[in-house]
């Protein structure tokens, strides 16, 4: 990666709507962990139940809860929400690529066909 003067470096918050560096406080981290623990408990409870009597809806709800937990850890604990946009592009790019490639792969092999 090339280097250049500080004046040329990407400004701290050029296209980042959230002010960089303002990480949550310790009590906010504990609150986020509490929410994650509650979501995990809901997930486990859901796995023993069938929402609306349908396994499909229950599975959908479990995937949504997992996605919320994933996003919360990435945004707040990994500071993706507060860091420079380039790291979001690197990580989310890899994530979206992985999801698209493997959804196409599983669809091709008929995993989603009943």
């Amino acid at each position: 990666m090339t280097t250049h003067s500080q004046a040329d470096a990407v400004p701290a918050s050029t296209d980042n709507p959230v002010a960089e560096g303002h990480h949550p406080s310790e009590s906010q981290y504990v609150a986020i962990a509490g929410i994650l623990a509650v979501l995990t408990a809901i997930e486990v409870a859901l796995s023993y139940l069938k929402v609306g009597g349908s396994q499909g809806i229950t599975n959908g709800a479990l995937l949504v809860l997992a996605a919320i937990k994933f996003t919360m850890v990435a945004m707040f604990f990994m500071h993706l929400r507060f860091d420079k946009p380039v790291v979001r592009r690197l990580f989310v790019g890899g994530l979206i690529l992985a999801i698209c490639v493997y959804l196409a792969y599983l669809s091709t092999l008929g995993v989603f066909v009943k």
Binding site: A9, A12, G21, E26, I32, E43, S47, V73, F77, V101
Partner: protein, 209 residues
Amino acid sequence: MAMADVAAVPGGVATDHGPHHETNTGMSNEKVAMWAFLGSECLLFGALISTYLLYRGKSISGPTPHQIYDIPYTSVSSFVLLMSSLTMVLALAAIQRGDSRRLRVWLLATALLGATFISGQVYEFTSFIREGLTIKTNLFGSSFFVLTGFHGVHVTLGIVMLLSLWNLSLRGKLPQEKAEVVEIAGLYWHFVDVVWIVIFTVVYLIPTK
């Protein structure tokens, strides 16, 4: 962080929120490299999870997932790993405000929680093998052990990283100006946690037809 301390960071200049590096991105190359690595790890774990889904319910002999999974036990393991992300981020907050003692406490707590998770996984693997499920038994055994085993190896490497940082701090070689080293190790640790969030839901909680 004292401005003089930040300005002393090689390759970095002082800002209000830590060192601003003289690179195209304004971030250290090490941190960008870790994020790029984590992006590529999404593809690795995506392949392993996809393989598990592909072979799901296709085993012609047992044991099957619903015969051997112990959901309450795995839920506790998942909770332990989730809480290790909290202690990791508290370790980072400690070094960023120059509190080396708390940094070591939280690093050690994170490593211990990680070791608890790994111990739980070793116990789970042992009990599965005792019940007749090995990596060679059926498609479920092969895909399950490869996926969760790869994740376990990642957690173990993370524990080694954490204990190395704890040791460096103990010897006074991890000052406040090197907070980014803890941040980079933390990124890896949190990634291992988010991967487990997906594995726990897809492999354990969503039942096989």
